[in-house]
Amino acid sequence: MAEEVKKRTTYRSRKELKPRLYIGDPMVAVFRTLVRTTINRPNTILYPWEKLIMPDCFRGRPGIRLEKCIECKKCVKICPNQCIQMVPIDHPTLGKVNRPQVYVARCMMCGYCAEVCPTNAMMVTPEFELAAYTRSDLMFDPFKLQYEHKPGYEVHSPMITPSELKAGKTESHDKGDMAIKDTVELDPKKCISCQRCAKTCPVGAITMADTGEVNPKTNKPVKRPVFDNNKCVSCEQCVEVCPKSCLSMKEAM
């Protein structure tokens, strides 16, 4: 083994090199570069005047399309640096709504907020020049965060479920596809028909349906939430708001 390894080494002693080589060759290499960069373009660019061409998927600061956002707060939950907050705004067409505000000084440009956004309202923009004189300039409120959308700015991450992979399927699903979406499950025994989940759901995927039973104590009909899984965006807000913890997320696996 050792012999074999020894044979493979490419170490050449300095004594084997002729003086011509170790003075001439480096100079030739450098001189060639000089000639090449004089004739052709140099490798550098004149930055403030010229700019690099960024690929479409470049992850700069996050941007938002306010009318697309559905207030699901998925971006708030995923952000590893906790730099997104929902703030109330007064929009000329949308009225009084909550929209995300990003503290870009803390943002690490991971692009997760755009990756999880179910409606592609949040996107990554190619903006990277974010210097500011004060820290408060870097607090991007929803209006400042707005950015014009172009195809290619949204982040896709096609996925397949493990069971499909085992079955030999090769078709990937984009986000929001029913095959990979987590759905909400109800434990009807614990439910007290408080309707808080239906009020919280940002997309109106929950309706309270009559079960036909009547509560013997209050003489009112018992209602249970029914989930429209096609509308649901798996934001887990209903799970969080439930006072009796009767909801849970069922993972599509």
Partner: protein, 361 residues
């Protein structure tokens, strides 16, 4: 008084990052050396305990910006081991490709740093120029220049973009040509480079093994070991490559190992492009980890990176331990430095490729 202690660092041109090397000198000769680290400690391991598994991936990138892809890859592999997730084949090939590109970029950054240590600004500029080609390719693929956030638990984020293969092969052709002509002329054939690298910083085979030095530093001392070959992960068992070993154990041998490794990485990338087939690139990973422990190790550009994770049934790790290669390699500094001259310290410490981000964590 004939001997005195000297502090090199934490702010010194010799240190690549924030660390301190205390050397005891007798005239020009070093009689004792003590590396002091901890200036860059960010509490990474504690920080990740408060985040869920997906959120930690971009944090793993920040362990070392020189080779962020390998660290987030290692993290994802550890969690896949913990959750028993099977990665699709195409994703494994893509991971091989991006990790090898990252290895080349990291080695080039190392050579650039050594170039400045030796006072050769030309080497620095040439290496940075070539590194840019690889960074551009990775940027087209992942959308960021250094902290890629590209591997995911269960695969990678997106498939290769259009023309990625064509552009990468062009970059490889250009890079291989320059590796054989310009780099050889600038380093191997330059007398000042050879004089400062050869016969300095000797680390014997026994010392390298006993101190736990890994990666190119160990292979430069004649130890024939590479995790990619001896404990293959992803698709490394299906590619054909050579483990680069040099016998001399000096700074120049460590340099040779890295140069040959870059050439091997080019070969691996070419083979990977030939062997990969279309298919899915990511499987859905479960949210919660089972109550067990897992570890994974990969061949980082600097040595063996290892992560050990304890899952407690929630969606956050109970404990995550990182074993970083340079944390161990830097303890070999006294062995390499004693008996050398002060002027050789930058070349020797540069040749082990310091990276403090992953050392102090």
């Amino acid at each position: 008084m004939t001997e005195m202690w000297m502090n090199m660092g934490p702010q010194h041109p010799m240190t690549h990052g924030l660390w301190n090397l205390r050397v005891k000198v007798d005239g020009e000769k070093i009689t004792e050396a003590q590396p002091v680290i901890g200036y860059l400690h960010r509490g990474w391991e504690k920080m990740v305990e408060a985040r869920d598994f997906q959120q930690i991936i971009p944090m793993a990138d920040r362990l070392c910006y020189g080779s962020s892809m390998t660290w987030s890859h290692l993290y994802c592999r550890t969690i896949e081991e913990l959750m028993d997730v099977e990665v699709p084949e195409r994703a494994q090939w893509i991971r091989v490709i991006v990790c090898e590109m990252q290895r080349i970029a990291s080695h080039l950054m190392w050579l650039a740093a050594v170039g400045t240590d030796l006072g050769s600004y030309t080497i620095f500029l040439y290496c940075m120029r070539e590194r840019e080609l690889f960074l551009d390719q990775l940027m087209n693929l992942t959308g960021a220049r250094m902290t890629y956030n590209y591997p995911r638990i269960g695969g990678v984020r997106n498939d290769l973009p259009e023309n990625f293969e064509r552009d990468t092969l062009r970059v490889l052709n250009l890079f291989e040509k320059r590796l054989k002509t310009e780099y050889e002329a600038l380093c191997d054939k330059t007398v000042s480079y050879r004089m400062r690298m050869e016969n300095t910083g000797y680390l014997s085979k026994a010392d390298a093994m006993n101190l736990g030095v890994t990666g190119p530093n160990m292979r430069g001392s004649g130890v024939d070991f590479d995790i990619r070959r001896d404990d293959p992960y992803e698709k490394y068992d299906e590619v054909d490559f050579e483990v680069c070993v040099e016998q001399e154990g000096d700074s120049y041998a460590r340099y040779r190992v890295r140069m040959r490794e870059m050439q091997e990485s080019c070969n691996i990338i070419r083979q990977a492009f030939k062997k990969m087939r279309p298919g899915p690139v990511r499987v859905k990973a479960p949210r919660n980890a089972p109550k067990k422990t897992a570890f994974a190790h990969v061949e980082d550009p600097r040595g063996e990176g290892l992560m050990y994770v304890v899952g407690d049934g929630t969606n956050q790790p109970y404990r995550l331990k990182v074993r970083s290669p340079i944390f161990v390699s830097v303890s070999a500094a006294p062995v390499m430095l004693i008996g050398e001259k002060v002027a050789d310290v930058p070349a020797i410490m540069g040749s082990i490729d310091m990276c403090l981000g992953e050392t102090d964590r």
